[in-house]
């Protein structure tokens, strides 16, 4: 800890100068090329501690590939700090701020979205704006794709850079089920007919909370209210149909609704163990990957509801006290290159959909994203066109609190 001090002091002053430079450039659309060159120069030899959920071995292997490429291309050492929950990184930065560590934090980059982002923004824990300075950010064409600059209705303001996409995707064993439910209402009827074969992750799990939002959107007629802070509307009245629905649904769930799976991946395990017959995930490629790994039967099929399902974009952000901001920015930019994005979308690697606007890429780059495999487990190619946008993050918290007050400790 002592040895590295002089060097980090030096890079610290340079970083501060950089931040000032970048700040002044914010008003311009994209940084001047000279500035970016300075970032690349400064990043050389730095280490990036990238805090990212480590619960999926495919994601982890993709991150290993990123680390290799960053080392080879930019002489940047990327270290994947595997988290059980992204909130741990938020907590960590907070503890550092609490202790007055404002310039030598331990988190350089964090994989984030939704309420974690909202929380870090609200507490001034993020560095930025920086996203627009990244040369490859332009390929996302935010002017046509507002979702890459919007996180749960909140504008990202350049404090996080888009990385990938997620959408609720249901899956089931096609050998067992012919016609899966195509809406929240049908789901209840299906559960009544097949007691104990469906469930959703325990709140406050991310996927579980998203299921609540999905149900609320379908069951209430208050779409506009959902996209504004919850304080501005009558929560009890708007959410009433959801609770009626859940009260009726729970007795027909797995374990009669007295217990819930821990997470999306936990549901997948339960489907593999034949405890559940129908489940959902946030990563559209996950069921196909699980078939490849023999965790699900080859007869597994994926689909989304008729009216569409909730989807969102996930991002990377840089904490305000990261000592390696230049390298973190360089990494965020590398993640947006067609090379990295295409590899990420490759089902054999990870299968996470790209955030680049493929229709606006030049032919050579667009070609990287072609060749969708003919995999029966995968979603139909047009399925992800029916994406419902995420409500305001305050709804997530309100729903979580109400769910827990209603169903915990009974």
């Amino acid at each position: 800890m002592v040895i590295s001090l002089p060097r980090s002091r030096h890079s610290l002053t340079t970083s501060l100068a950089m931040i000032a430079l970048l700040g002044s450039a914010t008003s311009l659309a994209g940084a001047p090329p000279g500035d970016w060159q300075a970032v690349v120069e400064e990043a050389r030899g730095q280490s990036v501690y990238w805090h990212a959920w480590g619960g999926d071995s495919r994601t982890n292997r993709y991150l290993e590939w990123v680390a290799e490429r960053m080392q080879a291309e930019h002489d940047v050492d990327v270290i994947h700090v595997k988290l059980g929950d992204t909130a741990e990184a938020v907590s960590r930065v907070l503890a550092e701020k609490q202790a007055g560590n404002d310039d030598d934090g331990s988190v350089d980059l964090v994989w984030i979205n939704g309420e974690n982002f909202a929380a870090m923004r609200a507490n001034d824990l993020l560095f930025g704006p920086f996203a627009e300075q990244l040369p490859h950010f332009a390929l996302t064409h935010p002017e046509h794709n507002p979702e890459v600059v919007t996180d749960f209705t909140l504008p990202t303001d350049g404090f996080e850079s888009p990385w990938g996409k997620a959408q609720i995707t249901f899956y089931y064993d096609g050998a067992e089920i012919d016609t899966p439910p195509m809406s929240i209402v049908e789901l209840k009827a299906w559960a009544e007919a097949n007691p104990g074969r469906f469930s959703y992750p325990r709140i406050p799990d991310f996927a579980g909370s998203t299921f609540l939002k999905q149900a609320l959107i379908e069951l209430s007629d208050a779409d506009e209210a959902l996209y504004a802070p919850v304080e501005e509307s009558d929560f009890d009245a708007i959410s009433a149909p959801l609770w009626d629905y859940l009260d009726a649904l729970h007795p027909h769930l797995w374990r009669s609704g007295r217990q819930f799976p821990a997470s999306g991946p936990d549901m997948l395990r339960l489907v593999g163990d034949a405890e559940l017959s129908l489940a959902f995930t946030f990563n559209p490629a996950e069921p196909a990957a699980a078939v490849t790994d023999a965790e699900l039967p080859p007869s597994t099929r994926s689909y989304v509801f008729e009216g569409g399902t909730l989807g969102n974009v996930h991002f990377v952000a840089i904490p305000y006290n990261s000592p390696h901001k230049a390298a973190a920015m360089l990494l965020a930019d590398f993640l947006l290159t067609p090379e990295a994005q295409a590899r990420k979308q490759d089902l054999a690697v990870w299968g996470d959909p790209t955030v680049l606007d493929v229709t606006r890429l030049d032919d050579e780059q667009a070609a990287r994203f072609e060749g969708v495999e003919d995999n029966p487990t995968l979603l139909a190619p047009d399925a992800l066109e029916r994406t419902l946008p995420e409500p305001h993050p305050s709804w997530m918290e309100a729903l979580q609190d109400a769910w827990q007050a209603r169903y915990v400790g009974r």
Binding site: M1, S4, Y49, H51, W53, G54, G55, S57, N60, R61, E64, I79, V81, K82, L83, G84, D85, T86, A87, E88, A89, V90, S91, L94, A95, E96, Q98, A99, G100, N101, D104, S106, E115, N123, R202, P204, R255, R258, Q259, F260, A262, S263, P265, D266, M267, L268, R269, L270, D273, A274, E275, D293, A294, P297, Q404, A405, R406, V408, G409, R410
Partner: protein, 571 residues
Amino acid sequence: MLRLTPWLIIALLVGPILAGLAMAALPAFGYLPALGGDAFSLEPWRALLAQPGLARSVAISFTSGLATTAVSLTVVLLFLAAASGSRLDRWIRRMVSPLLSIPHAAAAFGLAFLIAPSGLVARALSPAPSGWERPPDLLIVNDPWGLSLMAGLIIKEIPFLLLMSLAALHQLDAERRVAMARSLGYRPTIAWLKVVMPSLYPLIRLPVFAVIAYASSVVDVAMILGPTLPPTLAVSILTWFNAPDLSQRFMASAGALLQLGVTLAALASWWGLECLVRRLGRGWVAGGQRQRGERMLRLAGKALILLAALTALVGIAGLALNSLAGVWRFPDGLPQTVTLQHWQRALPSLGGPVAATLLIATVATLLAAGLVLAALEHEQRSGRQPAQGQLGFLEGRRSAALTLLYLPLIVPQIAFLFGLVVVMEALGTRPTRWLVIFGHLLFVLPYVFLSLSEAYRRFDPRWSRVALTLGATPDGAFWRVRLPMLLAPLLTAMAVGLAVSIGQYLPTLLLGAGRITTVTTEAVALASGGSRRLIGVWALVQASLPLLGFIIAVGLPRLLWTNRRGMRGTP
């Protein structure tokens, strides 16, 4: 130098814990300037009390602390009473160390897969005789009463209490006592319970207290096996601490203090129970009853411990199967296909964490062993051996020192570790390997002391006297006589230390800022991904590392002393 070690140890152990508790106490009363809390208030406590299911969380944590301890202790005592000298006795004694070395998380994963509705037991019974074509919809793992949690803890605490009891039994001359009672017409099991147990219990009281504290505040096992709606108090606290809504940290801090209170309440209740049992037991011991119930007790003593040991071992075997399984559908008892894919994929990423784990565990254990040896040697040289069965080592302040050494085992980790992180940050300490090693030392040190002190104090003082009168210096006598002769117990204590360090989750995670990856943090991080195949791989690696330590501890003395008959068996 030697004279300072006891104080050094106390400072090392007590300082961080008190500092950590203080930094948990301030936010608990509203003070956390970084989050805008600059005035003291009771708001965090109000928020805490308003949490749905809080009463239930507290009740489960409290009950788990008491029930786990009561059952584990009963099983251990009945076994010792029933099985001395039998073949089962020898087998169990040999299994103590390997069982002890299985990390809690790995044992919990193993048990979960054993007893789940789609687990090994259900598969063995299906489709015949159970008639289950699909896993039954039964709430077994994560049951709301915490029974599976307690079961998971019991199979891990039995070997711990057994090891502690075996060490303490050396000074009781149990065989002679039992022989005496038998000559008065008592059946052996009854005799042991009446004449040995009352003297044994005071000697293992502190380990028992450590079990209560651990079982009432454990995090990793409770995450795997514990109830979920709501979870135990410790798991809830971790969730609140990690909540993205940062204001929950105030409430989490209040929860940390509540956890401390719950653990202390469990300890106090146990103490009350002790008094009650002692009063009732006195009548029973002196009642003259010699035979009745012996057959039942004997059977229970053997069957229960066998059940616990087999559960742990079969659970681990289940994990091994999982790590090799390809397609494995319910109700197949064995995988349809076997594959090395999970191992091959994990191998490239195993090296770093395994090396880090071994490095941290080795350094922490060597430091702990050095400090413990220095403290014990000082105790010997100053000639102030504590009275039999007392575990303190500071002259004149025995009872105080006694409590302090075990502070890290009594104060719940979750109550002080978050505060400790804040303290370290405030001191400008960057998360490094050394900080993690220091964090591990907090827990390794007491266990090494616990494991070594008995053998050290029991060591015949005449050996050192002979050496001294032959002209050896006190240091020479230590290095040339005491240390080599105590090599076997020292290595065992170090193996225990290694196992403790390897199993640490929260201290590694928090003090290493997640940058220091060990097999344990890796396994628990993967646990959130749910893939049991991969968990199988990591849990096996996690379980095999401490085993390595125990193999060395058993094998090295045998190798060194092949031609020294007097060095076989404990000196």
